[in-house]
């Protein structure tokens, strides 16, 4: 991987690794672990990681917790509104295998079938140390040019889309609340 990068890409990846703006999609309880991570105790900002308000500006989509079919639609929509290079961090065991509600009729079990996940943080919930550690790993991956989820998504778009349709029926929902 490393050898394929041009000099320009290496510089760009270096910059990207050191300035990560995240959009945290607070789908579940995991978001409660973020305030301590951002404030004085663990201070995420010293790595150049900061919160952003909109998907247009953000680099990381932080999926913090359970995803129901309803929220998965919104996650996909937000992800598609983000601009490449973009990374997804799956937060907690519920994004990995469905967590304790793995058998619910509305909870999806595996996030990386629908969107490309660059980093999973295991735990229920992961402690701030784990989050910081995970972000450090993600920064290394980006620096080495290995975090290529967004390229996978573009290359295998049909496959991802098929999984999405299988689970959700349709991604862009039309109903009485949206017309």
């Amino acid at each position: 991987m490393n050898n394929e990068q041009t000099a320009w890409e290496r510089v760009a990846n270096m910059l990207r690794a050191r300035s990560l703006w995240m959009l945290y999609y607070c789908t579940g309880c995991g978001a409660i672990e973020l305030p301590p991570t951002m404030t004085a105790r663990f201070d995420m900002e010293r790595f150049g990681i900061g919160p952003m308000a909109t998907p247009r500006q953000a680099d990381i989509l932080l999926v913090t917790g359970y995803l129901s079919t309803k929220t998965l639609r919104r996650v996909i929509y937000s992800y598609e509104q983000m601009q490449a290079p973009k990374y997804i961090v799956g937060f907690g065991s519920c994004t990995i295998n469905g967590g304790i509600y793995y058998d619910s009729y509305a909870t999806i079990n595996r996030l990386d079938l629908y969107v490309p996940v660059d980093l999973y943080l295991a735990g229920c919930m992961p402690r701030p140390e784990a989050i910081v550690n995970g972000f450090k790993n993600l920064m290394d991956k980006i620096d080495q040019g290995e975090a290529t989820g967004w390229k996978d998504y573009e290359a295998n778009y049909e496959w991802y889309r098929k999984n999405q349709i299988d689970a959700l029926g349709e991604v862009y929902i039309h109903d009485e609340f949206h017309e």
Partner: protein, 300 residues
């Protein structure tokens, strides 16, 4: 001619490098006040250049054009700010020209943001324009007193006159300087006057749809804008500087003060901000101008 071009390039590079560095330092200072460690001081350079490398979306012609107009107008304005002894257009740097040229940038940004079609952006622009009516009025009225006193509205001449007179305006017109500083906080969009970008409330307002290089350009524009606004204050009230270093030092002090004030403030609602500006700063500015016009008179 060649000297003008060279000094223009030097001023632009200086403005960019210095202000972006200071913005990084400001983040560090703010982190220290929060008892955090804070990012390295070059973090804002990384942010800007990273944004420029990213992909982006565009909402059509006016979305692009407005951003270019914003950055172009602001770059043009920077060239009229004297930085110590680095003056690009001596004598032609009229303050009214600077203030109205800065408005090109604002108008471009407003057009572009509203052109994105996002209501959050429109709300933010509405708030920004409302707040502008708040902070510009006291500032302009104080300026009237300054120009009346010194008989000139050229920024570099004002700086030279203060230096040759031996005292700075902040001592001659202390009330005006306070008003000017409060207005400066509004101009910079620092807390408590940052309703128009309120990230948690209207999703960073005008910036809501900007991605990649658009965001990078606007961050650059914001850096230049900061340079202009603080440069105006330093030249008007602190006598600019005999050398460029003196100017940069004063610049740092003013910015430092603004940052530490803003980092302990909550946010005003926009009508509260306007009401605030039209109460004390406006009254004080009138008092200052009346003192200047009717008691102090013109400078001999």
């Amino acid at each position: 001619m060649i000297i003008t071009i060279l000094s223009a390039i030097a001023l632009l590079i200086l403005a960019f490098a210095y202000t972006v560095t200071l913005e990084g330092i400001a983040r560090k200072i703010e982190a220290r006040i929060h008892r955090r460690c804070g990012p390295p001081f070059w973090q804002n350079f990384i942010d800007i250049f990273k944004s420029l490398t990213k992909h982006s979306i565009s909402h059509g012609f006016i979305f692009d054009f407005g951003v270019l107009m914003a950055l172009g107008g602001t770059i043009a304005t920077v060239l009229f700010i004297p930085a110590g002894n680095l003056v690009v257009f001596p004598g032609l740097d009229n303050v009214f020209v600077i203030i109205y040229l800065l408005a090109i940038g604002l108008l471009g940004m407003a057009m572009s943001a509203v052109g994105s079609g996002n209501p959050n952006a429109s709300i933010g622009i509405g708030r920004a324009l409302t707040q502008m009516l708040g902070y510009e009025l006291p500032f302009m009225i104080v300026l009237l007193g300054v120009f009346f006193h010194f008989r000139t509205s050229s920024l570099s001449e004002l700086a030279v006159l203060q230096n040759s007179g031996g005292t700075y305006n902040v001592l001659i017109m202390p009330i005006g300087a306070v008003v000017g500083f409060v207005s400066l906080m509004g101009m910079l969009g620092k807390k408590p006057f940052d309703t128009f970008i309120a990230p948690a409330e209207i999703a960073s307002g005008p910036l809501v749809e900007y991605s990649g290089k658009y965001l990078g350009l606007l961050m650059t524009q914001h850096a230049f804008g900061t340079f202009i606004e603080i440069g105006l204050f330093v030249n008007l009230f602190l006598g600019g500087g005999k050398t460029i270093w003196e100017f940069l030092l004063k610049f740092f002090l003013v910015y430092f003060l603004a940052v530490i004030i803003s980092s302990i403030m909550p946010r005003f609602r926009v009508e509260q901000a306007v009401k605030f500006y039209w109460k004390w700063p406006l009254i004080l500015s009138f008092i200052q101008v009346v003192i200047v016009v009717f008691i102090m008179g013109r400078r001999v």
